[in-house]
Symmetry: C2
Subunit: 415 residues, 2 copies
């Protein structure tokens, strides 16, 4: 991508006060643009990061045999009445129609996926079934805050699974939990804290939340430094002196943000829609369900909260919008930089090429730092037929030939 | 994809009356599921076709230098008031919030993209700019009909371009028109009729519509058999005896469906938002805009309307959900079919593998015909270590080795 050809530039919006790090850094570097409270446009660089996150998620969902579908956001009122959630879910947006229909705007999709499953699942042969989508959710949050960590409209992956009995659900639930850990680790989170929660308004059965520690977090997490124990402070009675799991006294409390959750819905929604199957003995039995969410735009925000330094984003290799940023400093001659750009693109690398002619070297370096890709390449009169290679996390600068640069990029991203 | 492992099966919903071919064929073959009037869920096979359509569109959008973004669907009322469309656009869905905000549900995105452009475009150096998204649109259609040809919620690619002067817009407008022709041809439409229209409620300036002839169409198109002339019957005064372009008397009238449109918005929205730029002489000048849409789910429906025979879908090669459907007829032994499946998958082909054990050969062939991929492969006791190859559009059946099958598939899809 050439910056000169209408790349939406980073903006220096220093006058404005931001309420969170992700909001500020993503806005300044041109990844997102706020439309209204809790509502954002994702700009080209942000779209690139989201596509990479989505590919990571899709890959793991397909690995566990889930099928991708696309459910609508307009949900007929009657379906939400059938689950008795039309009046009870307070964050539900409601849509008027001049034709007197009323819809809920999809805040979650049990009301759509359960009747869908009912059309296709007849007997035990049709089970298990797992369906997921990557789409948009709408929630009428009273106080949207923390940038894209909590919005009124946001990207989400939601997965729903259908099983003949609890045992089969339990096994799949564990599979999804393992897949979630993989997804979050691939996205650059090294320390995922899993907590057991009460299940919100979905279920009285158990549910689990996946959290990462960050000062931007909205929950206080009590966790053990010696084992995997973690729990939301609200759930814990009184002051915890020792870890209830391993007995260690290395118990800490820190802020965390929830990036995923999994729910055992049991028959909560199957009952509402009379979703049953015929077992091997010809008897009608209720289907047990699980649901599993990952907030995708929230994940983008959480990555920035965890991966930034000195007010600059530091993208993990797996989700960086660009493998490298190429800066041309040769005045009045961009031919060699152009050649390098074309060559790297042809090799399959995503390159942001700063080919602007009317901008100082200082501003080009600043733009590059704001965007935060792991590799910076510079071509100038000084570098002659070589290219300057610099890693974001390393002060060393070295000169390499174009062939060496390709090899170094390949090694860097396959490592 | 293995049918036995929870592929959402084709359903024999013969009792039901469908109002259109695309609705009936896509439902029976398990590509879509209707939730309510004008509202659909896209099932796994449908999602595969949409992904291929989207990739074709993305490719051409990137070729003409457009940048992909994601705009929200919740549009603050104030923005639609600023363009004086809050009360005048009758298909606009409106959203309540318990916090007294009111939103429009995105029916188109000028109200979002114009203020966005205003933040980034300051001078002539920032022009031109072209931004597109692939997302969902919501329109409160009085009578949703024709399956997924006209819905209340549907997939759309919308592109917006910003220019310093009319001449630059005109050149880009032509570029987009050429890209649209390429997109529609790649999607399997050989005969695109371009009509000039009045511009709806967007603009009094010119606009063009891209149509394909099909009895399912909602407009009557008058067109010339000898040249490219085409016009909506409504626009033409009286009965046309001779083509106004070439004078031929080969003038026909047929039904057509609109699959894309392009609008010269001129300064309609720039004026509302005071979107201007500073020219080389330091003077403030208005920006001229174009907007360009392709209904993506509508395109899916139009493909089915144009490409079906004897009540069976015949997917064009470019958007087929599966390159081939592999059927195992060997009883109690799926080992060879499994091997073929794995091998073809590893070669990068999308294969639907009918590995069901409890289903008759007849039902397997019927499922295969319903889904409508161009190539059918069969493994049975009779075929021994070979594979039966049959093209959908050809009655010949031949036996080939696995190696030959791979070569034939490669040749077939690269041709």
């Amino acid at each position: 991508m050439r910056i000169s050809q209408n790349y939406i530039k980073s903006i220096k919006d220093t006058a404005r006060e931001f309420e969170s790090v992700n909001h500020e850094l993503l806005t300044r570097a041109g990844f997102i643009d706020q439309v209204a409270s809790g509502i954002f446009t994702i700009l080209p660089a942000g779209d690139r990061v989201l596509k990479k996150i989505e590919a990571i998620i899709r890959n793991e969902m397909n690995e566990i045999g889930a099928l991708e579908i696309r459910m609508p956001s307009l949900h007929p009122k009657s379906l939400w009445e059938q689950t008795e959630r039309w009046n009870s879910v307070d964050i539900l947006f409601k849509v008027n129609s001049r034709h007197s229909y009323e819809y809920a705007l999809g805040a979650s999709h049990e009301e759509i996926v359960t009747p869908l499953a009912k059309k296709y699942i007849k007997s035990y042969r049709d089970l298990p079934l797992a369906l997921y989508q990557i789409g948009t959710k709408f929630r009428d949050e009273p106080r949207p805050k923390s940038g894209i960590l909590r919005g009124r409209e946001f990207g989400m992956k939601d997965l729903y699974s259908f099983h003949a009995h609890q045992q089969d659900l339990d096994a799949y639930y564990q599979k999804v939990s393992d897949a979630y850990i993989k997804i979050f680790q691939t996205c650059g989170f090294t320390d995922i804290k899993i907590t057991e929660a009460s299940g919100g308004d979905f279920s009285k059965k158990h549910s689990h939340e996946f959290n990462v520690l960050t000062p931007a977090g909205e929950v206080n997490l009590v966790y053990c430094g010696a084992c995997s124990f973690a729990q939301n402070e609200e759930v814990i009675q009184g002051n915890l002196k020792k870890c209830p799991l391993c007995g260690s006294s290395d118990v800490k409390t820190d802020k965390a943000v929830e990036i995923g959750n999994i729910f055992d819905l049991h028959t909560r929604f199957s009952n509402s829609f009379k979703l049953t199957y015929v077992d091997k003995n010809g008897e009608n039995r209720p289907i047990v369900m699980g649901c599993y969410g990952i907030g995708i735009t929230r994940l983008l925000g959480a990555i920035v909260e965890v991966h930034h330094k000195d007010d600059l984003i530091q993208w993990p290799l797996s989700v960086t919008p660009f493998h490298a940023q190429l800066i041309n400093l040769s005045k009045h001659d961009s031919s060699y930089a152009d050649l390098i750009y074309r060559t790297l693109k042809a090799e399959g690398f995503d390159i942001l090429y700063d080919d602007r002619e009317d901008v100082s070297a200082g501003e080009k370096f600043m733009t590059s730092e704001l965007i935060g890709s792991p590799v910076r390449l510079v071509v100038s009169e000084k570098t002659k037929k070589n290219v300057e290679w610099k890693l974001r996390d390393d002060d060393k600068i070295n000169l390499f030939s174009a062939t060496e640069i390709i090899k170094k990029l390949k090694d860097f991203y396959s490592a």
